[in-house]
Structures are given as C-alpha cells and as structure tokens.
C-alpha cells in the first residue's frame, strides 16, 4: 500500500476502471494503472484490447461503467482539471475550413487559455512542429503528416501538465517520428507527464519509462521495461568449431545449443564463465558473447499467448 506521498505523486491513478458497451461487450474489466508525474508512460496491446476506450474515459469522451482514482489529483471526469491536460485522439479530424493558426486558437480558447497567451503559444508551437510557413493555409490542404504535427501542437496549446497521445506518430515518416520522440523527451525534461498509446512498440521502447500491456480489457503486465523483460534475459555465445566432444558438458551447464549458437538464461556470470572455460578448453573459437532481452513485441506476443492473462493484475 503506497504512502500518501507516493499516491500524490501519481499523475494518473486509475483503479478498477470498467466499461461495458450495451449489456454484453466488456471493453474494460477492471483496469488498474498508475503513472508517475514527469514520466513517459506507454500503453500497448492488441487491437480490441480497450486502449482507446481507456484513453477516452480519461478524457471524459466516454463514460465509464465504473471507475475510481484520480487524474492530476482530481477524480476521473473532473472537468476543471481538463484545462491542464492536452489530448490528441487517434484518427482525429480537424475542421477543414480552418487554417493551422485558427485551429490552435480555437482549441486553446476552448481550453480557457487567455487570448494574449494563445497568440504567443500558437506561433511558438507552429514553429516547434515546423508548420510556420503553413500557418495561414487551410487544413484541408495539409498532408497527413502535417495534420498529425498540427495535432500534437494543438495538444500543447494549454501548456499541459499531462499529455495524452493516441498514436501520435501515425502518418509520420521516420524523420518526423524521430522529431516527435525528441519533442516528447524535451517535454518530459520540462516536467510534463506523457501518456502514450501506440502500436509502434519500438518507439515505446525508445522513450517510455514504464509501460502497461492491456489485453482483453485487463492489464496483463505493468512496469519498467527492465522489470517486464527481467525473466527473458539470456546470454548468447557464438562460436566456431566442433562442439561434439564437449556437448554433453555444455548441456549439463544449462546452455541450449542451436548450431553454432549457445543460449544461457539468466544473469549467472559464474555459469557463463564456466561455459566459456569449457569452450576455450576444447579449443573452440568464441566469436561473440552478447546479452539479450526480449523486445516489447516479444513480451506482447508472450502475454497474448499466456493463459494467465485472464486474471487481472494488482498495482505495483
């Protein structure tokens, strides 16, 4: 049980969030997620897991069947606190008749940003997302990538404490994605909490401090990337030569043999050194010794195939 201090450090504290559509579709079955202030938190899961529903509940676009917890210290659904949150939904559609500058002004006004601040912010943000020369161009002339960058800019117009982004790099080329990642890291350095929902697992691996994996309306795993992949650590030894004379001994030491590749689970350095000694003793040439962890994708695939997914997890 966290102390009061630890609890107030949560930017997002979702407890037992449930959502049933109609009477039969359980989109969320008791989700518990905690996001620390100032961290980048990633939410991933397969299609239909409930990720977008969860994000929409946080933003009051969808009403939960049941939800406890807080966002920025206020109960979920508290309207006033929304002024301190920036949001970019997936598949957003902006009014085509507005220009880039008009759009930022419009959404900032809805977020209660004073006029003078809106104007300054709009110029700064358009510059930050490389859209300054397009500020007076109608949005229906924008490319997908430009529209996405404008979307990120509109989520920042109110200088949010919490930024909720659903697929923020959708439609961006690799350079654009890199630029967005750098922007998010800058924001984190400035103290902004970022809640990210993305299918691009490699991107989440690059920038997230912690992640949660949502499967079938439950949080299957939650924690730092190190915590999630702890049990998957192994060392791989690539060698040259004939292993036959020492194969039995290698297997006894717990290595798995795959051609000229040995895999040893865990961090046991004594075991690894013993295996290296055996290989060197047999005159085999060691080409490489590399630590290896599962990627986030590997973890997701593992979770989706894991029968334990059916049970909800407790918060860390």
């Amino acid at each position: 049980m966290e102390s009061i201090t630890e609890m107030t450090n949560w930017a997002v504290d979702l407890i037992d969030v449930r959502k049933t559509y109609g009477k039969t579709i359980d989109a969320l079955r008791g989700v518990n997620i905690q996001v620390r202030r100032g961290e980048i938190f990633g939410l991933l899961g397969p299609n239909g897991a409930g990720k977008t529903t969860l994000v929409k509940i946080m933003m009051t676009v969808v009403r939960p069947t049941h939800a406890l917890g807080t966002i920025l210290g206020r109960p979920i659904g508290h309207r006033g606190k929304l002024a301190r949150i920036g949001y970019l939904p997936e598949h957003h559609q902006f009014p085509p008749y507005l220009t880039g500058a008009q759009l930022l002004d419009y959404y900032a006004a809805l977020a209660k940003v004073p006029r003078a601040v809106r104007r300054k912010n709009a110029e700064r943000l358009l510059d930050r997302v490389w859209l300054t020369q397009w500020r007076d161009t109608r949005i229906d002339k924008y490319s997908k990538g430009m529209s996405q960058r404008l979307g990120i800019a509109q989520a920042l117009t109110n200088d949010p404490e919490l930024l909720v982004l659903d697929e923020p790099t959708d439609g961006l080329d690799p350079v654009g994605r890199r630029d967005v990642r750098e922007l998010l890291l800058e924001l984190r350095s400035a103290g902004t909490t970022i809640f990210l929902n993305s299918h691009l697992l490699s991107e989440l691996e690059m920038i997230c401090d912690r992640v949660a994996i949502l499967v079938d309306g439950h949080v299957a795993r939650q924690g730092t990337l190190t915590e999630l992949t702890e049990h998957t650590v192994e060392y791989r030894i690539r060698f040259q030569g004939d292993l036959a004379p020492v194969q039995k001994k290698i297997e006894t030491l717990g290595a798995r043999i795959d051609g000229s590749l040995l895999s040893i689970s865990g961090h046991d350095t004594e075991k690894i050194n013993a295996i290296v000694d055996v290989l060197r003793g047999a005159g085999l040439l060691i080409e490489a010794i590399e630590p290896h962890r599962f990627s986030l994708e590997d973890i997701l695939v593992e979770v989706m195939g894991d029968k334990r997914v059916a049970r909800p997890t407790t918060p860390p």
């Binding site: 933003m59 009051t60 676009v61 939904p89 559609q93 902006f94 509109q154």
Partner: protein, 311 residues
C-alpha cells in the same frame, strides 16, 4: 471565451459553405429586381420607365401608401423569398453542422476540453443560428434600403424581421439538431426537419382555414383537435404576421385586384383578411412563448442525448 470560440467557429464554417454565398447573391438579385420597380401616382413603373402599368394600389392622391408598400415587402417579398425558399436553403446548408461536429475524430477533442457538455451543445446550436442571422441582416437591410429609396417608404418596424426570421428558423432547426444528435445523419436531419416544418405549416393552415370556411366548424372534434395542435407546434406563420404588424402592413388580400372576382371568392378573401388581421393582432408573447416551449423541449431532449452519449 469558450462559448464565443464555438460561435466564431460556426461563423467560419458558414462562410465556407458555397450555399451561404449563393443565398447572398440571391438577396442581391431580389433587391436589384425591387430596385427596378417604382410606384408613381396612378402607375407602377418597371425598369426605369421601360414598362408602365396603371394602378392606384400603392398611391392615393399622389402620396405613397406606406401600409400597402409594407404589405408588399413583408407578406409577398419577405414571406415568399426569405421565409420560404431562404429557410429551405438554410436548413439544407446547416443540416450538416451537427453531424460533422459529432464525428468521432472531431468531437473527441472538443469533449476533452474543460467545458460542460450542455455548454458545448448550446454553443454549437447558437453558432449554427449565425448562418441565418448573417443572411437575415444582409437581406433585410438591403431590402429596407431599397424600399426606402425607391419605393418611398421607410419602415423601421421592418428591421424586426432580422431577429424574428432567425427565431422562425430556430423553430425548425431544433428538429434538425435533434435528428442529428440521435442519428448523426445530414440527410436525415435535412429531410425530417423540412418534413416536420411542412407539418407545422399544415396544422396552422388547417386551423386557420376553419375560420375561412365556417361550414368546416360543424365537425367539432376535428376543429378542437386542430386548434389544440396549433398551440403545441411552433407557429411559423405567426412570425410573418408579427413582422407585418410591426412594419405597419395591411393584410395580404388587400393587394389582390378585386373587380374580376366572383362574390363567393370575395367573401372568402374577406374572411381570410379578417383571420389574418386577427393573427397579426395576436399577443406576440403568447405565440412566441408557446413556440419557444416546443423548441425548448426538443432541444432539451437533444441535449440530454448528447450529454449521455459515448463518442
């Protein structure tokens, strides 16, 4: 600030619609046509003297008859052009405002702002009325100036047409919004609201016809039913009668040439004029109040649905 942002956004959306500019062009065309007509003692002059028709309808002893001019401006021009065809065009043009506003990728960002849903709903609703407000200001001011300069009758009361036509439009648009919130379909919103408007008109016209044709009143049940229904539905025609009264107009029948009509037709026209005069003198608070009650109920139902829906 937030409310105003929704209004400004709706204004920008209106300006983006081609039909907005088409309606403006039609207003100019109508005003130009009116400009080509003038009334002189004993005659109506068309196209600056190209044609002339003898008539004492609009002048008496060399002086312009303001009441007849007002009747022409309100009961014929304003009623036929703006309050019929203009409203139809406006309903079609604005039918898409709410459905596009409620599209999943669009409404999500708005709902995530620190604004109660009822406020968002009303901001968008009043913003949509701006479309007709701008058109009404343009049409009424233009025709007001033409009637004053060319027809010799300055009718300050005619300017009440601006807010009253917007009110008339709101009676019908509330139905369009209700349909849009429940079904999120532009076509359904346009078709159903126009159909319901025809129903309003039908109920009103039938209720009034009982006064033109006293023999109809023999069926007391039907007569009472229509009189009751008339109070429930918005009284769109009463708006024009109110504008006519405020402009100092007479009844529309006064402009019909009578020498060639048969006696029975004359009797019907006289009864219609009496009924029209009665409508013009109706308590405006009563007629507008009861219509606004209908509108309020429809909007409350739409607002409730909007507040409860997951987008």
């Amino acid at each position: 600030m937030q409310f105003w942002a929704l209004i400004v956004d709706s204004l920008r959306e209106s300006l983006d619609r081609k039909i907005f500019w088409v309606m403006g062009a039609i207003s100019v065309l109508i005003a130009a046509t009116m400009f080509c007509i003038s009334f002189e003692p004993g005659k109506i002059v068309i196209l600056f003297g190209t044609w002339e028709f003898p008539s004492d309808l609009f002048t008496t002893n060399g002086a312009i008859r303001q009441d007849r001019i007002a009747t022409l401006a309100v009961s014929w021009i304003l009623d036929l052009t703006f309050s019929w065809s203009g409203i139809i065009l406006a309903i079609i043009a604005t039918a898409g405002f709410f459905p596009s506003f409620l599209e999943r990728g669009s409404i999500g960002i708005v709902l995530s702002k620190p604004m109660p849903r009822w406020q968002i709903f009303l901001g968008k609703y009043f913003g949509s009325l701006v479309f007709v407000f701008v058109q009404a200001v343009f049409f009424v001011l233009l025709t007001f100036v033409v009637v004053g300069l060319r027809w010799g009758a300055w009718l300050p009361g005619y300017l009440w047409a601006i807010p009253l036509v917007v009110l008339l439009f709101s009676y019908i648009y509330c139905v369009s919004v209700w349909v849009a919130v429940y079904f999120r379909s532009t076509v359904a919103a346009a078709v159903i609201s126009l159909g319901v408007w025809m129903m309003f008109f039908g109920v009103q016209a039938t209720a009034e016809s009982f006064e033109y044709y006293p023999s109809w009143q023999s069926n007391q049940t039907v007569h009472k039913a229509f009189q009751t229904a008339r109070w429930i539905v918005p009284k769109t025609q009463d708006i024009i009668y109110l504008v006519a009264k405020l402009s100092g107009a007479g009844t529309s029948g006064e402009l019909l040439p009578d020498p060639d009509l048969e006696e029975t037709d004359m009797e019907t026209i006289k009864r219609a004029s009496v009924a029209e005069r009665k409508r013009m003198n109706m308590n405006p608070l009563l007629t507008i109040g009861s219509s606004l009650l209908f509108e309020a109920v429809v909007l409350l139902l739409a607002m409730w649905k909007f507040a409860r829906t997951d987008y």
